[in-house]
């Protein structure tokens, strides 16, 4: 139940973040995705610092060289992911951006299989297929009719949420 709640918060915040970023980058004159991403990281760091020092929420862990290098590489990858997301928002409409992001579960599972040799349960693969179907339908009808667009978007969001359940 707790996991579902955190995942629901993550999904909602993801959508809010995407819409707000798109609004800032397109409708204000502030079309600087790299500066925007650095502001995200800066405020995240300030928030974490305040929680640790004033809130005593956790004890900072000490990492060895191996741990530090692994976390540095992962941090860079994570930041690049966020930065590329913001850069892509300046280039494509939000609908296309969300469509491509919705393909990530299927891409992840494919890469897991071919690169890491990791097999996912058949029920998970089955859950991903409707998402791909909706993506293809949405892509085909995105500029044709608004009701189809709304149906496609709601179908994608529903399918992604069901996948998490």
């Amino acid at each position: 139940m707790l996991v579902a709640l955190w995942l629901a918060c993550y999904v909602v915040l993801n959508i809010v973040m995407g819409v707000h970023n798109k609004w800032i980058l397109s409708h204000t004159q502030f079309s600087f995705p790299w500066i925007l991403t650095s502001i995200h990281i800066f405020i995240s760091g300030i928030g974490a610092f305040l929680l640790i020092t004033l809130g005593n929420i956790c004890e900072p862990a000490r990492l060895n060289k191996n741990g530090l290098s692994r976390y540095a590489a992962f941090s860079l990858l994570y930041t690049l992911n966020v930065a590329m997301s913001n850069v892509s928002l300046t280039l494509v409409p939000l609908a296309v951006h969300q469509m491509v992001r919705s393909l990530f579960p299927m891409l992840n599972m494919t890469l897991d299989y071919f690169v890491l040799g990791k097999k996912h349960h058949f029920s998970l693969v089955l859950a991903i297929l409707p998402v791909s179907r909706n993506e293809a339908y949405l892509f085909r009808t995105i500029f044709r009719s608004r009701p189809c667009l709304i149906w496609g978007i709601s179908g994608c969001q529903r399918d992604v949420f069901l996948e998490f359940l």
Partner: protein
């Protein structure tokens, strides 16, 4: 990647991970933004603007940063809960 790295001995609290990640990533992004000349363009665009407009932009960007902080928090917490 998070499910591979943020497990076992390397499993950090979300706040701890954000606290460790932020300086390194901010430094990298700051350099990339400089290389892309975003700072120069931003200064030229916003220097002649009235102060009220700049403060409004600062407020909007701060709010955006707070959303990003909570998004990062929920992302890492979900990862920790899904991979005990």
């Amino acid at each position: 990647m998070a499910s591979i790295i943020m497990v076992g001995d390397l499993k950090l609290h979300p706040a701890d991970f954000l606290f460790k990640m932020a300086p390194f990533c901010f430094y990298t992004l700051h350099n990339v933004a400089g290389m892309m000349d975003e700072y120069g363009t931003a200064i030229h665009e916003y220097l002649p603007e009235p102060h009220s407009k700049i403060w409004l932009l600062v407020l909007v960007l701060t709010f955006n940063g707070l959303i990003a902080f909570f998004l990062n928090w929920t992302c890492f917490t979900s990862t920790n809960l899904l991979h005990p």
